[in-house]
Subunit: 215 residues, 2 copies
DNA sequence: CCCGATCTGGTACCGAGGTACTGGTCAGTC
DNA sequence: GACTGACCAGTACCTCGGTACCAGATCGGG
């Protein structure tokens, strides 16, 4: 049984989604909310919600901000952003906010139901209309990961240090973060530089970013 | 009428796809090819192909490389990569290569037909199984709101220096590249750090990358 | 014309970064 | 037990990065 929350400030939209979803035997509408705040409250009350259909434009707290705050809640539901706006920026922002799906309200009832099942299964879904924009974005940021970190045979600890270098930390901060002495950090840094062929920590930082070590 | 090319080294797969697609009145199978080279030849012969279903693993010229070379041909068809491998790297590579769709062969006939129509309409399509990986990738590369460099009010020269810092150059190299003395470079660097609020050049380098100063 | 911003350069200084060693603990392997 | 690799830590040393402060040259605008 898939437990779903419907989050939209328009009563009519909530009712429509509810009718569609309640027609499915394996889907249960567990909560409804009219704004992001109510949504977050509902999630905190009921940690068993699997999927949330969330509108972007809402009073009090918009859907994207609510999705971001959701990350701090344990057992948070997977979010499908459902919107009338097919603006590319919204897609990318929604994804960046942690959404696992992006649907346009003009989609069919079958699409909506399929999306809920897909996301509940741990996968993700995009409306075809916005998939192109996402692909353009991916293409713009280059292929897979330009740098394969495995090539350098870094030890786990060295990888930790490299990640922190990529985050812009200096040796002292790395030492504090990893509960090490400066000397040890320097040793690791030296090894990382040698293994990666970087001349200094700037090169290592660039490498770390290109390898996707920094969020 | 949507004109489709089927590119796969396995006869059985081509026949299967052909059967499925020919069952649709609005779809015409205009070409078949057993490897990337044949595919490119077919596209050059017949510039009216709208959509191509392309396998990755093929002799002579693989699907991704063929897709990349396709970009040089006018009126090139939109490519849907169809593969048995759901490896994330393939998805991202395919997108980077210019594919407008990525399907797994385990999908249904209806999915295949819908994908062809979607891509023919100028949109894009991803199998739900791989959409998650693409979304993770987008999230990893940060939100649409990168870093707006204009906020920092950098002078043109300072922006030059920042870009070179982001490329991993040290002060000496920057001096040589810009025909300056070390002193001048240091002055600029200090100003850049002050204006951007970075503590050291590592932070500035990260900023430069996030601002897109480094390709 | 003067004023301000920008670009350029210099000197002096200091701390962080980085290297080169040495040496210790611990876990797993032969 | 001996050996290896990862991890941790220290000392000594030097270079580079960065700051502070200053100053000349240029240029556009009030």
């Amino acid at each position: 049984m898939i437990r779903v929350a419907i989050v939209d400030d328009q009563q009519l939209v909530r009712d429509g989604f509810g009718l569609i979803l309640r027609s499915q035997p394996d889907i249960h509408v567990a909560a409804e909310a009219a704004d992001g705040r109510q949504f977050l409250d509902a999630v905190r009350r009921d940690p068993r919600i699997d999927v949330a259909l969330v509108d972007i434009r809402m009073p009090v707290l918009d859907g994207l901000q609510a999705t971001r705050e959701l990350a701090a809640i344990p057992h948070a539901p997977a979010v499908i952003v459902v919107t009338t706006f097919d603006d590319d920026a919204y897609v990318l922002d929604a994804i960046a906010s942690g959404a696992r799906g992006f649907l346009l309200k003009r989609c069919s009832a079958a699409d909506l139901i399929a999306a809920v099942r897909t996301v509940a299964a741990g996968e993700a879904i995009l409306s075809a209309e916005v998939t192109g924009a996402v692909l353009d974005r991916v293409r713009a940021t280059g292929p897979a990961t330009r740098v394969d970190l495995a090539v350098y045979q870094l030890t786990p600890r060295e990888a930790d240090v490299l990640a922190l270098i990529g985050a812009g930390l200096n040796n002292n901060e790395i030492a504090e973060r990893l509960f090490l002495s400066m000397s040890t950090v320097k040793t690791h840094v030296t090894n990382v530089l040698a293994k990666t062929g970087s001349r200094d920590r700037v090169g290592a930082a660039i490498l770390a970013i290109q390898a996707g070590l920094t969020p």
